[in-house]
């Protein structure tokens, strides 16, 4: 057996189910690993060792009693700190939620618990999921296990780093403009953003309600498919969740792609793209061609406007979603000196509790929604959104899936873009269109460029999440076969 820490989730679960490993043992090994390396990686904001061990013991009891265990039972998981966890601190990477312990679990957290997964703790993130490097965490930046001087991506950087550093076999992230896929890409992982409405948002602290989706960050496509299945499905507590059966995804992993039509998005290449990234991407596309997929070049002309539209819609919604953090009911309260009015205390709390990027976006969003500007900004951005959705519709008339690099570049050095928001925003250039259109999209590793992972993005039509897993599964198998081992075996030892 390979070293326990490096096993895919499916193998851990199988060993637990057979009794070869106890869930408690698996959990202890991961807690030890966190204790050993997280000082350097900084993937976790809060480790819930007691809760994890209690959950592990209950899995072991279930096994002893002969109760059936799910395909991921007994596998530890890192939870992005934007998802509420009952009784366990949830900060969203922000000082403003200081001390808040939610009285309820997010639906996805409830579902992973029900599937027998073992939450280890809360993963670091850019404050309120605003960022692409996890440097906007109010607490500390997370480091990329491939190169500790580089960013792990964001905003789900803690989730990605935890999985890439073998601190957790699986993680939950959330993706508003690429926040699962971009960290997955730069950390050499598989990450998926489900169809909007495929997974409940109840308990996902909203950044941009019309774009946010939770999804898996894993080391293999099969693990991602299983975790995706575990968290998917209609939730009566989320009106935007779609009332359709949970898609069958794991069954797609292992199917061939012969005859599938794969569209390469012309607009997601060229200037601004690192040449080696494009090279790895083209090699992977060629590989799909070798597997008898039909490769077609497709044009999505409005993708060029996706980034500006996103940076109006997301901040607009955020400016409203984040209004509730005012120090009145929970979290930080600043400047309540007994003299200041409630309005002053709200203002002081928000000034003290929010970081610079959050404030920037609240201001942008407030401006974009204000009367007299609404049509020119928010209204116009919504029109662009419709045009992008039409681009997707037209493209899917010709092809089954669309592909592109996940990010224009590999992981950049920590600190490089913190003072240049525009450069930081470009990290999400390729991932944003799928959020705006609500279609599913995932990233899987397709090799290294100068020793750093490159992500391969697959997008599918809404509710056709299964299609991207089929393509990803085939590509992963072929890449691993040619390489002789999974890419993650090459991550330097910590």
């Amino acid at each position: 057996m390979r070293e326990l820490l490096r096993l895919p989730a499916t193998e851990i679960a199988a060993a637990v189910a057979k009794g070869d490993l106890s869930a408690v043992e698996v959990t202890r090994v991961h807690l030890d690993r966190i204790a050993g390396v997280d000082g350097e990686v900084a993937a976790f904001l809060h480790v819930d060792a007691a809760g994890a061990l209690a959950a592990a013991r209950s899995i072991d009891e279930q096994r002893t009693k002969g109760e059936p265990l799910g395909p991921l039972a007994g596998v530890p998981i890192a939870i992005k700190d934007v998802l509420t966890t009952r009784g366990v601190p949830t900060t969203c990477g922000s000082r403003i939620l200081d001390g808040w312990r939610p009285p309820y679990d997010a639906t996805v957290v409830r579902k992973v618990r029900a599937a027998g997964l073992i939450p280890l703790g809360k993963a670091n993130m850019d404050e309120f999921a605003m960022g692409s490097s996890t440097e906007n965490s109010a607490f500390r930046p997370t480091r990329n296990p491939w190169d500790l001087t580089r960013i792990p991506g964001g905003s789900s950087g803690g989730s990605a780093a935890a999985v890439a550093a073998f601190e957790a076999p699986l993680a939950l992230g959330t993706d508003t403009g690429g926040s699962i896929r971009q960290p997955a890409a730069v950390c050499g992982l598989v990450g998926a953003k489900p169809t909007y409405g495929g997974v409940s948002r109840y308990g996902l602290v909203a950044f941009s309600s019309s774009l946010d989706q939770a999804g898996p960050l894993t080391r293999t496509v099969l693990d991602a498919a299983l975790l995706h299945e575990a968290i998917a499905g209609h939730d009566p507590l989320d009106s935007t969740s779609i009332d359709t059966p949970v898609p069958s995804l794991a069954a797609e992993v292992g199917r061939d792609v012969a005859g599938m039509r794969v569209g390469v998005v012309r607009e997601l290449s060229g200037e601004g793209y690192q040449p080696e990234v494009e090279e790895r991407f083209r090699e992977a596309v060629a590989l799909l061609g070798d597997l008898d997929a039909e490769i077609v070049e497709v044009s999505c002309p409005h993708f060029a406007y996706a980034l500006p539209a996103y940076y109006l819609i997301a901040p607009s919604e955020a400016s409203s979603n984040l209004a509730r953090f005012d120090g009145m009911r929970y979290g930080l309260r600043a400047g309540d000196d007994g003299v200041a009015s409630a309005e002053e205390v709200m203002s002081r709390t928000r000034a003290a509790g929010f970081g610079a990027e959050v404030k920037r976006r609240i201001m942008i969003g407030t401006y974009a929604l204000s009367s007299g500007y609404y049509e020119a900004y928010y209204g116009q951005a919504q029109k662009v959104r419709t045009l992008i959705a039409r681009d997707f519709d037209a493209a899917y008339q010709q092809v089954d899936v669309l592909v592109s690099p996940t990010t224009p570049t590999t992981a950049f050095p920590l600190g490089e873009r913190v003072d240049d928001p525009m450069a930081m925003y470009l990290a999400d250039l390729c991932t944003i269109p799928a959020n705006l259109a609500g279609v599913p999209s995932m990233s899987l590793p397709c090799g290294l460029a100068d020793g750093l992972p490159v992500g391969f993005q697959i997008m599918a039509p809404a509710l056709a999440d299964d299609r991207m897993y089929r393509v990803a599964g085939a590509l992963e198998a072929e890449l691993d076969a040619r390489r002789g081992h999974p890419l993650l075996d090459e991550v330097p030892a910590l």
Partner: protein, 494 residues
């Protein structure tokens, strides 16, 4: 010191233009966007959950009954029901707003257009309805330490979120009301309509129906609207009428003095009957409305709306027309019964067989008096329409005198059972037995020979004393007319 013009002079010189915005709390058992109870008067903050507290990660889900109730209201007001509409966020900061935005409707309301006919002094005024939309109520602030319970001077405030999230409809009229009397009558009619529709108890004193009045003045014959003031939170019919009246006098004095009316929000003081200025429009909040991204658009099918229309109960105006036609009630009769709150009871009494005039008389006179004595509404008395009809029937059949009838009613109100039971147990039936009555008559004649002689001698009015004696002997259960006839017959005067 605010200058006031004489009201009669004011309306002689200016035309008043009045529009009302009425908030009605719907009587759904659960809140607008969560499952919390809506019962009035529960201990503070006991009817709350993550959603109505606006906790991070919580989401709204539309209450179907609130939609049903709002559609009923729209149909009763002859509005057109939108086949597609959306909720919108109204953004502003206030401690009693858990999310610091209110879910409301903006440019896409559920019901558009319509009218409500109201009668004042026998004249019908048609008040145009602009729109009817749904929204959630806010929490309730309690300011502690100040002199008057107002925020000014308070040391701190407490917030009760039980009310937060209770469904409200806002019903907005066209600026078509021309007098304080019509404004009041509109609210009376609207309140009655809400109760008839079963959508609200519409109790102004509990705040479940409250009005804002927009008032402006213009020269007679002028078509442009003058600058308006908006007087908020009028909590009684009297307040509506008095506040509008006051505003007309105040604005007239301003205009007379060559000044201008300031567009502002004003507050009405119930104690003094005056309004005072508040926020001016120049410094008013920009609510930054945008479509609520946590809710999907609401698209009601034509079938749904048709079904709601089919199930509508008889509306108050229809009912009054029917009662006038079928029972011959005059407009004054109807107005008295309506003001007395006994329309239902009178109709039940008629339905149980009583003649309309007598049913009306019983409820408006005898029963109204008893209710007043008990400090209750006539409709709250422990007697049913059929009970009253039975009593009326027994009087008509001669088995009860009107004096006995009152005793029967006493018995019913005292919980002694239905009228027949009270008659039986109290032994109240009119003595019909000729022989028993004959014996009593003979006894009276024998006991009062002088009086008997006077009658025999032709002094007929003297028989009254003998009637009294017989009535006394029979404990009032004899029919006085029959006794008188029998006495005269025995004394040779028959």
């Amino acid at each position: 010191m605010t200058l006031l013009a004489d009201f009669t002079d004011a309306v002689a010189r200016y035309e008043a233009v009045i529009g009302l915005e009425t908030h009605v709390e719907l009587g759904t058992t659960s809140k607008m966007f969560c499952g919390c109870a809506t019962e009035f008067g529960a201990p503070p903050n006991t009817q709350v959950c993550p959603t109505c507290l606006g906790l991070p990660g919580s989401l709204p889900v539309i209450n179907e009954n609130a939609i049903l109730f709002a559609v009923r209201i729209g149909l009763a007001l002859h509005s057109s029901i939108a086949d597609w509409c959306r909720f919108a966020r109204k953004n502003y900061f206030y401690p009693d707003m858990p999310k610091n935005f209110q879910i409301s409707q903006y440019d896409e309301p559920l019901c558009v257009g319509g009218h409500l006919d109201v009668e004042v002094d026998g004249q019908t005024h048609r008040v145009g309805i602009t729109r009817v939309h749904l929204e959630e109520d806010t929490g309730k602030s309690l300011h502690v330490g100040g002199a008057t319970g107002r925020i000014h001077g308070a040391t701190h405030s407490l917030v009760d979120y039980n009310r937060a999230g209770i469904p409200l409809v806002e019903i907005v009229t066209e600026p078509e009301i021309r007098s304080p009397e019509v404004a009041r009558a509109y609210v009376v009619e609207l309140r009655e309509l809400m109760v008839a529709l079963g959508v609200s108890d519409a109790r102004m004193e509990q705040g479940s129906l409250r009005c804002d009045a927009n008032v402006s003045l213009r020269q007679h014959g002028e078509s442009r609207l003058g600058t308006r003031s908006e007087t908020k939170n009028l909590n009684s019919l009297r307040s509506v009428e008095r506040a509008v009246r006051y505003e007309i006098s105040r604005q007239a004095a301003r205009l007379d003095a060559g000044g201008r009316v300031v567009q502002e929000t004003r507050h009405y003081d119930e104690g003094t009957g005056t309004t005072s200025g508040g926020r001016t429009k120049e410094e008013s909040t920009d609510y930054r409305y945008f479509p609520e991204p946590d809710l999907t658009p609401l698209a009601l099918s034509a079938d749904y709306v048709a079904a709601v229309r089919y199930d509508l109960p008889e509306l108050p105006a229809q009912r009054r027309a029917r009662m006038a036609e079928k029972f011959g009630f005059s407009p004054l009769d109807l107005e008295q019964m309506r003001n007395g709150g006994v329309l239902d009871r009178v109709e039940e009494t008629i339905a149980a067989g009583a003649p309309p005039a007598e049913a009306r008389a019983w409820w408006l006179n005898d029963l109204a008096r008893r209710a007043a004595e008990a400090g209750r509404e006539p409709a709250e008395l422990a007697i049913t329409g059929p009970d009253v009809a039975r009593v009326i029937g027994m009087v008509a059949a001669g088995t009860l005198t009107s004096a006995l009838a009152r005793q029967v009613v006493d018995g019913v109100l005292a919980g002694e059972g239905p009228p027949d039971e009270v008659v039986a147990t109290r032994g109240l039936a009119v003595v019909r037995d000729e022989s028993a009555l004959g014996a009593a008559v003979d006894e009276a004649i024998a006991a009062n020979p002088d009086v008997a002689d006077k009658v025999r001698g032709g002094k007929l009015p003297a028989v009254g004393a003998l009637v009294g004696a017989v009535m006394k002997a029979t404990k009032g259960q004899a029919d006085a007319q029959a006794v008188r006839a029998l006495l005269l017959e025995r004394l040779g005067q028959g």
